[in-house]
């Protein structure tokens, strides 16, 4: 240790110097307060022994200045004094001294004090170093979190949450949110909406949310059914989340054309269906375990159907709403939430009313969970902004001139749904993406016709009565089980003229017997619509979507031609 002795008395300095040097320390000297400050700045001593009364600048003043210069470093100052009255000694400490030593010096006490301050100084240095490390780590962590947050926001983007039939609120507790709100337009029309609440919040929750969002948006865009998406998400979460971590979720498949929703709820508070007039129609209760709990075999993807009229609203929330606490720690609770819907708010004001009530209730108290709220309204799909349907286009141009033949054998037909794959291939062509909905309908209808009426040889007329409908599906299962031979061939052909227009051909052939299409069928779509003899085959609809549709051979082969850009009068 380097020790500074500041004393105007030469003999005192000599004596102290000798004592301290003998204890193994380096000694530097100053003969007055001013000199002491200079030596402190120049030599950075570890401990200072300072006489109180000195010429130029006395010890107390010098001590104050040195302590100021030292800032947060601990530089122990021991006052040397022959003053013995209590007040004088107290004044020494008041001036910033850490201890005092009375003259004449007792070298044993002096040694003990120096040793004690050496320990204290080391401890202080350790403490400072640790504090600096913590600050540094914390800054590093915050920086990482911001970068991660940017990545997270790109992956778990809000999709079409800005659609005109959606109102939502997400309040993050940390940089990352344990709540997830995702929404995507389906290529076949309609919308998937996902409200998730991970156990915990912050980074661990966000890590789970990323693959979930990827799956949700990826599979929705490729035309997968919500059940399949849920299964995939459940499987993913089950495999990546530690035991005890899971994701409560309310998931909606909204169909604008059927005026209904299909819902899956696991571990979330009741959702409310609200009528056009703002009255509560019913509470929808969660019947499933949260996502990421059960294995694929045990997972139940059953969804419940609810019809919704134009203007009906669905309210969903994370438990952060119900469990929001006021200053006294009381929860907002279901009753207060229910009460809002009995208060005769205009339907348009309900969302804001819930926000307002919860916010007023919580007041200044600390939020202890993420609070997420979403309102989903049934509207005409045409009212929605088309832009949210446009898929993001990469810089790489899609394929333009290509052909593909794809044949499915018995085993594949039994266990595999090829539609997502086919959609995926079509969606690689940028111009076809905006027509995803109608393409999906065409492929789905024609494939299902080929499979059910062709390969399985089911008669579509069965479906014209309710009892026949049931029989149809019973028969379908039976034939599927017994199926030993057959195929469906799908051919796709796309050509484009300088990227400004193109023709897409879809040919589907099955191993069935075909049918007498000429008797039932003329090339006049209007005529077909009036006749409407193709029960179950959905041909009139397909007609309206295609440039041309023709049956070939014995009727076991069909060719649909779709042109882009589409003619406006179509």
């Amino acid at each position: 240790m380097k020790i500074l002795i500041a004393d105007d008395n030469v003999s005192d300095r000599l004596l102290l110097n000798k004592i301290i040097s003998k204890q193994g320390h380096d000694v530097i000297e100053a003969e007055n307060g001013k000199h002491a400050i200079d030596r402190y700045v120049k030599d950075c001593p570890d401990i200072i022994l300072m006489d109180v009364l000195m010429p130029e600048l006395n010890g107390k003043e010098a001590a104050k200045e040195i302590k100021r210069l030292a800032g947060e470093d601990l530089v122990p100052i021991i006052f040397l004094t022959s003053l013995i009255d209590a007040q004088s000694l107290a004044d020494c400490l008041e001036a910033g001294g850490d201890d005092f030593l009375t003259k004449p010096y007792n070298h044993i006490i002096l040694k003990a004090k120096i040793d004690a301050f050496v320990r204290m100084r080391k401890m202080h240095a350790t403490l400072q170093k640790q504090r600096d490390t913590i600050v540094e780590n914390n800054q590093h962590m915050l920086h990482e979190q911001h970068v991660a947050k940017a990545v997270f926001d790109n992956v778990a983007h809000s999709g079409c949450l800005d659609a005109s039939n959606i109102k939502y609120m997400l309040s993050p507790l940390a940089v990352f949110n344990g709540d997830v709100l995702l929404a995507a337009r389906k290529p076949s029309g309609g919308m998937h909406v996902f409200l998730g609440d991970f156990t915990g919040h912050g980074l661990p929750a966000a890590i789970g949310a990323m693959p979930m969002a990827e799956i949700f948006y990826g599979m929705t865009a490729k035309g997968f059914a919500l059940r399949d998406i849920l299964r995939e998400i459940n499987l993913k979460l089950k495999s990546i989340l530690p035991i005890g971590f899971f994701c409560c979720a309310a998931v909606v498949d909204l169909s604008f054309t059927k005026r209904s929703i299909s819902m899956w709820m696991g571990g979330v508070p009741d959702c409310y269906l609200i009528s056009e007039e703002g009255k509560k129609l019913k509470s929808l209760r969660s019947h499933h375990l949260p996502l990421g709990v059960l294995s694929s075999e045990q997972f139940d993807d059953e969804m419940t159907e609810h019809s919704m009229e134009d203007g009906d609203r669905l309210f969903m929330w994370s438990d952060g709403i119900v469990e929001a606490r006021d200053e006294k720690g009381e929860m907002f609770g279901e009753d207060r939430l229910q009460a809002i819907f009995k208060d005769n708010f205009a339907p348009d004001e309900l969302f804001a009313a819930v926000q307002e009530r919860v916010s007023v209730f919580v007041g200044e108290s600390e939020r202890d969970d993420d609070t997420t709220l979403i309102e989903l309204m049934m509207v005409e799909e045409s009212e929605l902004d088309l832009s949210s349907l446009n898929m993001q286009q990469g810089t790489v141009k899609g394929p333009s001139d290509w052909k593909m033949d794809y044949e499915l054998g018995v085993d594949s037909l039994k266990h595999f749904n090829p539609l997502p794959l086919l959609m995926h291939i079509m969606m690689e062509v940028p111009a076809l993406r905006s027509m995803g909905g109608q393409l999906f309908t065409v492929v789905a209808e024609l494939f299902s016709n080929a499979f059910e009426h062709g390969v399985l040889r089911l008669n579509s007329q069965l479906k014209s009565t309710p009892s026949g409908f049931a029989e149809y599906y019973q028969l379908r299962q039976q034939r599927l089980d017994e199926l030993t031979e057959g195929y469906v061939k799908v051919s796709m052909l796309h050509s484009s003229e300088s990227g400004s227009s193109g023709v897409f051909n879809l040919i589907i052939e099955d191993s069935g017997l075909g049918f007498d299409y000429q008797a039932k069928f003329t090339q006049d779509p209007d005529h077909v619509q009036i006749e409407n003899k193709f029960s179950g085959r959905g041909i009139p609809l397909i007609y309206s979507l295609c440039h041309s549709l023709e049956y070939l051979g014995c009727g076991n082969k069909v060719r649909a031609e779709i042109h882009w850009p589409q003619k406006i009068d179509k």
Partner: protein, 114 residues
Amino acid sequence: MDKASHFDIEALTMLEEIMEDEFPELVQVYIADSDPRISALQQALKDQDTKQLRELSHSFKGASGNLSALPLADLCFKIEERSRDGVLDGSAELIQQVDLEYQAVKRILLSLVE
């Protein structure tokens, strides 16, 4: 020469042990510092400068105490106390006593290092 009536003998012995070879230097420095103090004290009294009187006696007291010349330190302390309180009466006598005591201390110290 009665060492015990001018010094704390035990402390003085310890001091000699601590200082080893440098004890003579310590004595020299002490004497070089202290000789002018006597006349300075007398001058301060003449000037009725209590502040100067106080600082000189304080410093002299400290240095003498550290050399275990306790009776001398006590005399210095008396002057320090009086000048702190602004009292000059009797200081002349005290300074004279300090002078006498210092001469005795000086003689003993010099005898130790020769």
